[in-house]
Amino acid sequence: MNRQRLTVVLSQAQGKDPARRALEESITAALLMEPDLDVSIVPYLYDLGPEHTGRLFLESIQGDMVVLAWMYPRAAFWLLDRDGVKGHYGVNQITPPAEKDEDDEDGEPETPKGIGAVDVPERWIYCLDLRDHNNYEVYVREVRRIAAECRERREAQRQTGAPGQPTLVQLGLLDRQEEAAKPQPQFTAEQLLQQPTRRWYPVIDYSRCTNCLECLDFCLFGVYGVDKLDRIFVENQDNCKRGCPACSRVCPEHAIMFPDYKTPAIAGAPVGNISGLKIDLSKLFGGDDALKIAAQERDRELIADGRQAVGMTVGIPKRQADKPKGPKDDLDKLMDALDKLDI
């Protein structure tokens, strides 16, 4: 594998759904016929623990990559980022048929106000959601398009001498030396496909996260921590309580995803205020009490652990405490959140 080729990683679905397996197999078979692609299969991305060979493999990939997985692209991308597989977010052109909305005249692109990722290498990671289509050809076409896009980008960089490219590249001495310098670890298919156990933990979207640390205050199970730069991160993933998405409800920026949660907004769907595709009316329909729901969910887990329920007394964001005079109603709170978004 070298930096001139595009690495395609297909992450399998959990379980043994034959329809899903069939789609995975058709895509893999078709992509193996394509030139300039390295195709590998790993188990369900979210379940790969730090020791899993699939993780080591992902970490060893150096150039641009495409990840096909049964989850929202945003979830897959930030999941990889947390695992140290970093890059720039490659925008794919696969849109689910139902979401093509012509009359969305929402012109102004929203500038991300999150703290962003750190140490991002000059490479692009494209995540495709295998739930979008059941026709393998759609994915094969998109991978071809991405391969061409990456080739063009490399060409352009080579000509402008973009940062991150060793000057050797321009002299045409590259590949062999690079490969010799960094031997690519070899993994067998059996190692890669060893079935991991199911995991459950939050994934932070740093393009949204403002590092307000409300999740750190809220979670009483030690899932969150801060790194050397005082940035929030999911420190102890496996401390998280299976099925509990409470911290995601507490996050004022909707930056916390649980890729396996049923509700699309929590699983990382490209909807809601920030993407501007569809508006999230949950707050209008009773979800203004998201904090209450989150506290209940947390209490359930505390009790299951033999601890005391704490209700709304611990780690509930201060935006609730400094209520001005009269009690705020749902819409007041909603408007506060929206004002902050500067729509």
């Binding site: 139902a98 909305d101 009359d103 929402d106 049923k262 509700t263 699309p264 907004a265 769907a269 909807v271 809601g272 501007g276 569809k278 508006i279 999230d280 009316l281 949950s282 209008l284 329909f285 009773g286 979800g287 009490d289 209450k292 729901i293 209940q296 109603d329 749902d330 819409l331 007041d332 909603l334 408007m335 929206l338 729509i343």
Partner: protein
């Protein structure tokens, strides 16, 4: 029996039948004699959401639910939303027709487009007048919320 009210959302008249009771999360409630009540979306809620594409419930008939517990999810042409229990009680039945074709909500929101039946005490819910007041007081803010997102005027 209270009179029907019509709340004007821009030019769109949202009709609010006087015989129903109303929950804060924009569901109507029609209590029956046996301690059960039927719930559905008000025309106000439906107008905000517009065409319903997908409806999903996360609890089963027979399940006990708490007030504002999340019970489902909806996706429409303009919006997504989690759905929450309007009251504490026990879900008796969901409108199964809607799971196949949720557009029934748009076609007949106060009738065939009902959402679920629940065994509950609906005494705490609002009258049509109280709901109308609630809508009036919050309409300004709601408009700001949906500005640029939902074209309410057409």
């Amino acid at each position: 029996m209270a009179e029907d009210r019509t709340f004007l959302m821009g030019k769109f008249p949202a009709v609010l039948p006087g015989k129903l009771r109303y929950a804060r999360n924009h569901m109507w409630c029609c209590p029956s004699q046996d301690g059960r009540a039927r719930f559905g979306f008000t025309s106000y809620a439906i107008r905000l959401m517009q065409d319903v594409y997908f409806l999903d419930w996360q609890v089963s008939p027979g399940d006990r639910v708490e007030l504002l517990q999340q019970i489902g999810h909806i996706e429409t042409s303009k919006a997504i939303s989690d759905l929450f229990a309007p009251l504490a009680g026990t879900i008796v039945a969901f409108n199964l027709e809607l799971l196949n074709d949720p557009s029934g909500i748009n076609v007949d929101g106060y009738g065939a487009g009902w959402l679920f039946d629940m065994a509950c005490d609906s005494a705490s819910l609002w009258s049509v007048e109280e709901y109308y007041q609630f809508l009036s007081e919050n309409w300004e803010k709601t408009q700001r919320l949906i500005k640029g997102k939902i074209n309410i005027e057409d």
